[in-house]
């Protein structure tokens, strides 16, 4: 994916505190640096006190609405199994669903880095070079967390066969 003419819609979902918004922040920045028009949307506040969270990124030549129309997500990545059903309606027919079953959870050494592993799995579906993803990932995290999160990113990415 990553064609220049159509808008690509990605939805990432999970629970408050899992780092869902960090995943879409990084995805949006990568696609921005790759030269696309990008929009990203989510809601903050009360909805985040451990409740369901979802965040959306749209990118392409020119993007209008920042919200992915219902049932038009090309990719849906869900960090928490209980949140799959809630969000499945956002995925288009034939779209790609990524869940924690698709990533090597047995190799997740720190639960806080689950989002980086999921980011890796997402990245596997796009053509942008690893270097770009990892640079943006690092720019979004304090230096002491770089090694762990880059490792988890790579594990997530390599787990997806294209």
């Amino acid at each position: 994916m990553g064609c220049c003419c159509n808008t690509i819609n990605v939805t990432v979902a999970g629970l408050g505190g899992q780092g869902v918004l960090k995943v879409t922040d990084i995805l949006a920045e990568v696609m921005f640096q790759a030269g696309f028009d990008v929009k990203k949307s989510e809601v903050h506040g009360m909805s985040q006190r451990g409740g369901s969270v979802s965040s959306e990124v749209r990118f392409g030549k020119k993007v209008a609405s920042p919200m992915v129309p219902e049932g038009e997500s090309d990719i849906l990545a869900v960090l928490e199994p209980t949140q799959i059903e809630t969000n499945l309606g956002k995925l288009r027919k034939g779209g790609v669903l990524i869940t924690t079953d698709d990533i090597p959870l047995d190799k997740l050494t720190n639960p806080k880095a689950l989002n980086s592993m999921m980011l890796g799995a997402l990245a596997a579906h796009f053509d942008q070079p690893d270097e770009l993803w990892i640079n943006v990932l690092k720019a979004n995290l304090p230096a002491k967390l770089h090694e762990l999160n880059v490792e988890m990113f790579n594990l997530g990415k390599n787990a997806i066969k294209r």
Partner: protein, 526 residues
């Protein structure tokens, strides 16, 4: 050199405020507006949290009377609190630029109502700009200050949740205006609203609004897309973005300056298409105004007045599809965090079968299982006063069960007046107020407040003591207790106070579990 970056609407507003020489940003935190002042402060601008929105607007008015630029930020319901100064500063205006951000929350992602603050622009007679993305947030805010100064009018700047929090590409200008040095020129006829001067000021305001309408007709804030002659859509704000996706072939008139409306531009546009529909989020403000001006346009069906619009809903709106909408599959509701200091407090209130008059904050979640302890919640500060009303009206046995709960930040916001009321008009059974002091403004993202001892940027500040404040006002008893560490003691104390006819404040003090780690880093950084 200008630079391109990804920025949310809130970040774009902060950047524009910094770039156009805002002397002071002041506000009260409230989703979806909260990040603006943090960003302004981080970028090097001066920003501070006020105890409430009325205070914030009044401080800003002072800055603008001193010929400097002032930015005020708040969520939609905050403008209710600040409405008193707003309606009169609309008359007098200020020589320095004054811009008030109203961040509305259609769909109530994190609010108690979905009021449409475009109504305030009309009611107060204040020009309103309404950006539709981060770029417009940036460009319009700079212009808002210029308009405010050129016309000597405060400007309302209406954002909505999706404009505040959506990130998109922003081209930031390279020019930086330094904040002006304040100076004062006496102009009592403009600045002192005694009736004799206010009568003149009201006429001046109405004349200024006519001039502003002419400015709006020039088209600077209006975007017109000419396509199909069969369908024309008049829209504003985030709804414009949805319209582009939902009706790519329609002609579109996008309004960026939403009061006073450019009615002649609208008349020409409506006449140029066979069918003209107004697509707006919230109340039918534009549709009603346009129809009242004798221009025939279609408004939206009542069902689209509720909640946010999105591409799917705009398609249905334009198609006249009134099929009842299926509610989205319910996600997991928010809840008090594990380890939250409010948990034990609510367990005791529940077990003692108290009638709990609640307030606005994380602790409103005490209404949900497993606590189901909160009985009422109206607006900021209302817990104490509503509790007093209940005590005055209920039979004694029930009156004795009434407890008001309020957070530390909410207490500083508008809770203090409730304590004054409690001491002055004390109910026969007395009253008990529990101040849930978790040492932060947790719900909106852990902002500081006057009692935390830190400024907006987390550097040390004088702390307003809650216990000294309530003692000074004259309550009979003040106790401070950690209800998590001493749950049984709290339960016993509460029973004692409820049985007496005294006025009591119990401060349940224990830091928010999310704030604890952050508070440690504030110390390290200094």
């Amino acid at each position: 050199m200008s630079c391109k970056l990804l920025a949310s609407g809130n970040e774009a507003v902060a950047m524009a405020a910094f770039d156009c020489g805002v002397k002071l940003g002041v506000g009260y935190p409230g989703t979806p507006s909260s990040e603006i002042l943090d960003e302004l402060s981080r970028s090097g601008g001066a920003a501070q949290w006020a105890p409430n929105e009325k205070t914030a607007l009044e401080v800003a008015i002072g800055v603008a009377f001193a010929n400097c630029r002032a930015l005020v930020t708040m969520k939609h319901v905050g403008l209710n609190v600040a409405a008193d100064p707003l309606f009169t500063i609309a008359y007098s205006g200020t020589p320095g630029g004054l811009v008030v951000i109203s961040a509305d929350d259609p769909g109530m992602a994190s609010s108690q109502n979905e009021q449409d603050n475009r109504r305030y622009a009309i009611a107060a007679g204040v020009p309103m700009l309404e950006p539709a993305d981060s770029q417009e947030c940036y460009d319009f805010l700079k212009r808002a200050f210029e308009i405010s100064e050129a016309y000597r009018r405060p400007v309302l700047f209406r954002l909505t949740t999706r404009v505040c929090h959506s990130k998109c590409v922003l081209e930031r200008g390279s020019d930086r205006l330094a904040p002006g040095a304040g100076h004062y020129e006496r102009d009592a006829k403009s600045s002192v609203m005694i009736p004799a001067y206010a009568r003149i000021a009201h006429r001046k305001l109405r004349a200024a609004l006519h001039e502003l309408e002419k400015l709006n007709e020039q088209g600077e804030f209006t975007r017109e897309i000419r396509k199909s002659a069969d369908l024309g859509v008049i829209t504003s704000g985030i709804a414009y973005q949805h319209v582009l996706d939902a009706a790519p072939d329609a002609s579109v008139l996008k309004i960026g300056f939403s009061y006073p409306l450019p009615m002649e531009t609208i008349r020409r546009f409506a006449a140029s298409v066979k069918r003209c529909v107004v697509v707006e989020e919230g109340d039918p403000v534009m549709a009603d105004a346009i129809n009242a001006a004798g221009i025939k346009v279609e408004g939206k069906a009542e069902m689209f007045r509720f909640g946010e619009l999105n591409v799917k809903r705009v398609r249905a709106l334009l198609a006249g599809d009134l099929t009842p909408e299926t509610p989205p599959v319910g996600g997991k509701l928010p809840a008090l965090c594990p380890g939250c200091p409010h948990r034990k407090t609510y367990e005791v209130l529940r077990d003692l079968k108290c009638i709990v008059s609640g307030d606005i904050g994380c602790y409103t979640l005490g209404v949900l299982p497993p606590f189901e302890a909160v009985d009422t919640c109206v607006c900021m500060g209302a817990s104490i006063t509503v509790g007093l009303g209940l005590r005055k009206a209920l039979p004694e046995a029930e009156a004795r069960r009434v407890v008001s709960v309020i957070g530390d930040s909410t207490f500083m916001h508008t809770g203090v007046n409730g304590i004054v009321e409690m001491v002055y008009n004390r109910p026969a059974t007395g009253h008990v107020v529990v101040i849930l002091d978790n040492s932060t403004t947790a719900m909106t993202g852990l902002q500081e407040n006057p009692s935390t001892g830190r400024r907006l940027d987390h550097t040390p500040a004088p702390s307003v003591s809650i216990e000294k404040t309530v003692l000074g006002i004259g309550v009979d008893h003040v106790d401070v207790i950690d209800t998590t560490a001493e749950t049984e003691k709290f339960s016993e104390l509460l029973r004692q106070r409820l049985a007496s006819n005294d006025t009591s404040v119990i401060i349940a003090r224990r830091p928010c579990i999310l704030a604890l780690a952050k508070i440690k880093t504030y110390g390290e950084a200094k």
